[in-house]
């Protein structure tokens, strides 16, 4: 048994345990900052381990490492790393600076990494549960805030229902194919082309469970409430790492074991993608709370990323990977700006609170404008290339209606992104926001720079994305 394949996950779990132990033996209140630094060191070390660990299948076929899993794991580790940096200063404001917070983010990241590396439906489920359970707690961690409790309860109840549906689907697939491993299912499907009804129902149920995780329409209802209620660093994490992990599962399952059935599921993915793009773009227009707006924005981004999967070609998967990478930069940067929004020590979250930011704090306003333009898909910025690659792949697979509707809806989406730019630069200034902290400025400006100069890294990114996508198709 080649146990070294899971070294990054094992190392990260052990650092989580050490953080927990370190926090427990410290006097209360002093533990948060050292634990945060410890976890940042752990994320950096695990990032290097992920890059160096060998490829292969281990643990009796339960676990797989390939180029694809490496790519997704690096994205997830970056997401965890950045959320911890965001929380260093933010959590002092609302009194959630407890060491358990750090440990939970670390464990949730472990779960997300295991999901990416799953080669068996049981591994999928265990990783999903570990990652979600930690997130339910993180959403409710701000105990003084009633919205935080609401967010935790809503996410927990709906997430449990989604897990139940996913498990039901897994049991159907197991019953009709006789195996849980992806390779077994792949062989069964390859050997008999007729798809039995039970198998189709199981596949759809698994899809439902994963769609809930990435908040694709029609399983998106929880997103605005949960995003709004959870503390901003948690929302940052929630909108990146678990979504990347669920997306990795989506791609691995659909291309791998269910790859032969692509004519059957392609239409389903197309419909989900179109609905997510439209409802995400239209729903965001009416929002006044910026976190709710970002929730709808993430719904539409997930729809765009699904366009690449709907193409079901290596180019499509590559487009999805690049899209998710650009989404990580834009999204974390935007949430860093949101985390910086506070007035006299109180967190403010209304879109109108940004009014006049262009005069009172031009640096952060410029960064926010870059993120908004990038999310709207304005050409030289990162977001444009993601959209370009997924739609190019969709055109390559002759999905014309999907491309046309997607492009039209992205024009609708541009409205609410540009409205924020308008409010920041052209509306009358209200009271200035508090002085932003160093860590938030670091995240904002580094993500802003990455979004701005993404085109310089475009060709190596595309190359990496292609290698990762090829490893799924073998």
């Amino acid at each position: 048994m080649n146990w070294t394949l899971a070294i990054p996950e094992i190392a990260l779990s052990i650092s989580g345990l050490i953080i927990l132990l370190w926090g427990a033996i410290q006097k209360k209140g002093n533990a948060f900052f050292p634990c945060a630094i410890l976890s940042i060191a752990a994320f950096v070390a695990v990032g290097f381990l992920t890059l160096t660990v060998s490829n292969g299948v281990g643990y009796n076929g339960l676990f797989i490492n390939d180029e694809f899993s490496r790519y997704m794991k690096i994205l997830i580790i970056i997401a965890g790393f950045l959320s911890i940096i965001l929380s260093i200063d933010f959590n002092g404001k609302n009194d959630t600076n407890c060491f358990e917070y750090i440990a939970l983010i670390v464990f949730s990241t472990v779960g997300a990494m295991v999901m990416v590396s799953s080669n068996d439906l049981m591994t999928l489920y265990m990783g999903l549960e570990l990652s979600s359970l930690a997130l339910y707690i993180l959403c409710a961690i701000d105990r003084k805030n009633v919205f935080s409790a609401e967010s935790g309860v809503k996410y927990f109840v709906l997430g449990s229902v989604a897990s139940g549906i996913l498990l039901y689907g897994i049991s159907m697939i197991y019953g009709f194919s006789g195996g849980m491993g992806y390779s077994t299912i792949h062989q069964i499907i390859a050997s008999n082309h007729a798809l039995s009804a039970g198998f189709a129902v199981g596949l759809v149920f698994v899809l439902v469970g994963l769609c809930f995780k990435i908040s694709a329409v029609p399983f998106h209802m929880w997103t605005p409430d949960v995003y709004q209620g959870a503390p901003t660093p948690v929302t940052t994490f929630l909108s990146t790492a678990p979504k990347f992990a669920a997306f990795a599962l989506f791609l691995r399952l659909m291309i791998g074991p269910f790859g032969h059935l692509s004519p059957q599921w392609q239409l389903l993915i197309e419909v989900i993608a179109i609905l997510s793009i439209i409802i995400g773009s239209v729903g965001a227009i009416a929002q006044t709370n910026i976190k709710r707006m970002m929730a709808y924005s993430s719904i539409s981004h997930m729809g765009f990323a699904l366009v690449g999967l709907a193409a079901a070609t290596p180019d499509g998967v590559m487009g999805t990977l690049i899209y998710l990478t650009t989404y990580l930069f834009m999204n974390v940067g935007t949430f860093a700006v949101i985390a910086a929004m506070s007035r006299k020590g109180h967190v403010v979250e209304n879109i109108n609170d940004l009014a006049g930011l262009g005069k009172t704090d031009p640096g952060i306003a410029t960064a926010m404008a870059i993120f908004m333009f990038s999310m709207a898909g304005v050409p030289p910025l990162a977001g444009f290339f993601g959209k370009f690659l997924v739609f190019k792949a969709a055109l390559g697979a002759d999905l014309y209606s999907l491309t046309i509707i997607g492009l039209l809806a992205s024009a609708v989406g541009a409205f609410f992104y540009l409205r924020i730019v308008k409010i920041m630069f052209f509306d009358k200034a209200v009271e200035a926001l508090d002085q932003r902290s160093l860590s938030l400025s670091f995240v904002t400006f580094s993500m802003g720079t990455l979004t701005l100069v993404f085109m310089l890294f475009l060709s190596p990114m595309i190359q990496m994305g292609q290698i990762a996508a090829q490893s799924l198709f073998h």
Binding site: L62, A103, T123, M126, L130, R143, G178, A197, V201
Partner: protein
């Protein structure tokens, strides 16, 4: 023949109690019906030869989870009217989804072909000369060690969550220095009084808080009446009479 009869008995009771869980108005009754359903499900497991799963179901679900659940139901005030408020609003949608699911399940059931080899394979013991429990253990700790450890992490996260969401330092916490508490003499804290019939505590002069011993054993930053507070019973009674 016998197992088949037992199967139908267990299955019928299981289904009936499951229905009762959903339709019973009293939530304590629902919880008890769920216990009954678990007991019957474990009976089904026994018939199938999975004695370890049967005992797990009883020990964990009926024994631990449901008892905790009952405690929660009994200690929590649930307002049934409030719970059923949105019912009529959501009923049509829920009903449509239920119908779709039932139709799907029927289609699945029609398409159900059981591989003829399955029945034979199920009769074979998993590993030779090994009981069910032992075979399960030897698989969990070898082939599925990765998943086993993952399950451990999931439970650890659940424990962290339960603690971090409920444990809080209230300003009204009272904590004692246990060693000093144990050093007390009984007559410092106890006083024997004979109580007449139809007389209450008030008539005897009310409760008498053992002032000295309380401050003797309380931790320094612990919540409690301040030394200047009126704790003497005569003062309290005078206060009460004045207010009348």
């Amino acid at each position: 023949m016998m197992p088949i009869i037992l199967f139908y008995i267990f299955a019928v009771i299981l289904l009936l109690s499951a229905v009762m869980v959903v339709i019973s108005r009293n939530s304590v009754h629902a919880a008890l019906f769920l216990v009954l359903a678990f007991c019957n499900a474990s009976g089904l497991f026994l018939i199938a030869g999975a004695e370890f799963l049967a005992i797990l179901l009883i020990a964990i679900y009926a024994g631990a989870v449901m008892i905790l659940f009952l405690f929660i139901v009994m200690t929590m005030q649930t307002n049934l009217v409030q719970l059923k408020e949105g019912m009529q609003h959501y009923l049509p949608v829920g009903f449509c989804i239920a119908i779709v699911l039932v139709v799907e399940l029927i289609i699945v059931a029609i398409n159900w072909h059981i591989d003829p080899n399955v029945a034979e394979a199920a009769r074979q013991p998993l590993l030779q000369n090994m009981s069910n429990t032992k075979a399960l253990g030897s698989l969990i700790y070898t082939n599925y060690i990765f998943l086993f450890q993952m399950a451990g992490l999931v439970l650890l996260v659940a424990m962290i969550g339960a603690i971090v969401l409920t444990l809080r330092k209230r300003p009204t916490n009272r904590r004692q220095v246990v060693a000093r508490q144990h050093m007390r003499e009984p007559n410092q804290t106890l006083e024997m009084r004979s109580v007449e019939l139809n007389k209450g505590v008030d008539d005897l002069g009310g409760y008498l808080r053992p002032k000295e011993t309380y401050y003797g054993i309380a931790q320094e930053d612990s919540f409690g009446p301040k030394p200047g507070d009126k704790m003497d019973i005569t003062e309290k009674r005078q206060e009460r009479e004045q207010s009348k």
